[in-house]
Structures are given as C-alpha cells and as structure tokens.
C-alpha cells in the first residue's frame, strides 16, 4: 500500500511517500505498527488529534478499515483558501 505524508508530517517522517507492506486491519493499527518501527514515526504520530487521514483520496478516520485501500495519506488539518 502507498502511504503519503504532507506538510509537517512529511518533514518529521522524512519522505513524502513510501510503500508499506502491512496486514494492519485499520488506520489505527497501521499507525501503531509504524510508530513501533522507528522513532520518527512515533514522533509524527504522537498526537492523533492533530492529524487527519485520507483513504484513497477521501477524508476518513482512524477507526476505518484498510481492506481494499491502495493509498493512505496522513497530514495536519488543512489550511486552504
């Protein structure tokens, strides 16, 4: 699955995009799995209330299942306009 990071999440994790091989059932499971891997992930994901997630380019939430999802993106609250 492709995992994308934007804004300060991208800066903390150090890459804009990576392939992740995971059996995580939900977004929250994926976050736990990545956070356990390396400190930079734990740091980026330390406060989930400051993060948003999109699944296949639609806003979603951390309880959502990853079944069939090809692209997950993590980013801070948006500041468009």
């Amino acid at each position: 699955m492709d995992v994308l990071y934007f804004a300060w999440v991208r800066e903390r994790i150090g890459v804009p995009k990576e392939k992740v091989d995971t059996g995580a059932a939900t977004v929250a499971d994926l976050v736990r799995e990545l956070s356990a891997r390396e400190e930079r992930y734990a740091l980026a994901f330390s406060d989930l209330s400051a993060l948003r997630v999109a699944l296949d380019q639609d806003l979603s939430d951390f309880d959502a299942p990853l079944d069939g999802v090809r692209e997950v993106a993590f980013f801070p609250p948006m500041t468009g306009g």
């Binding site: 934007f6 380019q57 948006m78 500041t79 468009g80 306009g81």
Partner: protein, 147 residues
C-alpha cells in the same frame, strides 16, 4: 463548473469576466479573491503552499457539487494555487453565478468555508526568522457548522 489547481499566477479580473460571460440568465455574480497578506510584523518573505495532487481536485469538485445541489446556481469557478507565493500575490478565487444575490453570496461563502478546512492545502510561512506551518484555526472549523 471550472476547477483550476495550478502553480501559475492568474488574473482575477479576467477570470471574473470570463466566468460572467459564460453564464446566461443569471442576475448575480459573486467573487472572492484571496491574496497573500503581509504579516503584522512585516517580515513575511514567502508563503509556500503544498497540496495533495489528485485528492485536491477531487475534494474541490465534491465541495462545488455540494454547492450546486444546495443552491440554485448557474455556474461555479474555483481557482487555487500552490507553490511559492509572495505578499500581494493572488492565492485563490471562487466565483458563483445565480439568478438572485442570496444564492450567489451563500454559495460563495460555503465554498470558502469548505475550501479552508476540507481541501488538502497546507501553508508554510517563511520569514526572516525561519519557516512555520500555518495552524488551522478553530473558527474555520466552527464556520462549517452553519451549513
């Protein structure tokens, strides 16, 4: 409906005229243009706008469709830039055309409120002292509750 997500500068006046010329039977056209504002300290050197290619167009398209479903509109225009901008540059623009002014105004405000908090753009301000991501404002999130 026209949605433009581009790094290039645009001309708000030419866009307004092109938009108005393309609608007929509409008595009211409302436009909003957002401009990079100099900071109060006067030290803003640039505003870097990052976005999520693919999702951006999709998210804006959904917001524009929602506006067209809620109000009686002749057409909707959304332009949003990304990349490096400097104070005074146009950032974005929305325009709405409707038979009556109330629909045109409400739809334009709805579009702006949703673009602020639901379109995947992130702003980073670069000043002499360094660079900081602009934090989302609570009032922008609560602005959504009126719709």
């Amino acid at each position: 409906m026209r949605i433009v997500v581009d790094a290039a500068v645009f001309d708000p006046g030419a866009e307004l005229n092109g938009f108005s010329a393309g609608v007929s039977g509409m008595g009211a056209v409302v436009s909003f243009s957002g401009i990079v504002r100099q900071s109060e300290a006067g030290d803003l050197e640039a505003m870097e706008i990052e976005h999520y290619p693919g999702m951006t167009e999709r998210a804006i398209g959904k917001i524009a469709e929602e506006a067209q479903a809620r109000w009686s509109l002749g057409d909707v225009l959304v332009i949003h830039r990304y990349g490096r901008l400097v104070p005074g540059d146009p950032i974005m623009m929305v325009a709405t055309a409707a038979p009556h002014r109330k629909d045109a105004f409400e739809a334009a405000e709805f579009l702006m409120d949703y673009l602020k908090s639901r379109a995947p753009f992130w702003k980073k301000e670069q000043t002499r002292g360094g660079a900081d991501w602009v934090a989302a404002r609570d009032e922008d999130e609560t602005a959504l509750s009126r719709w």
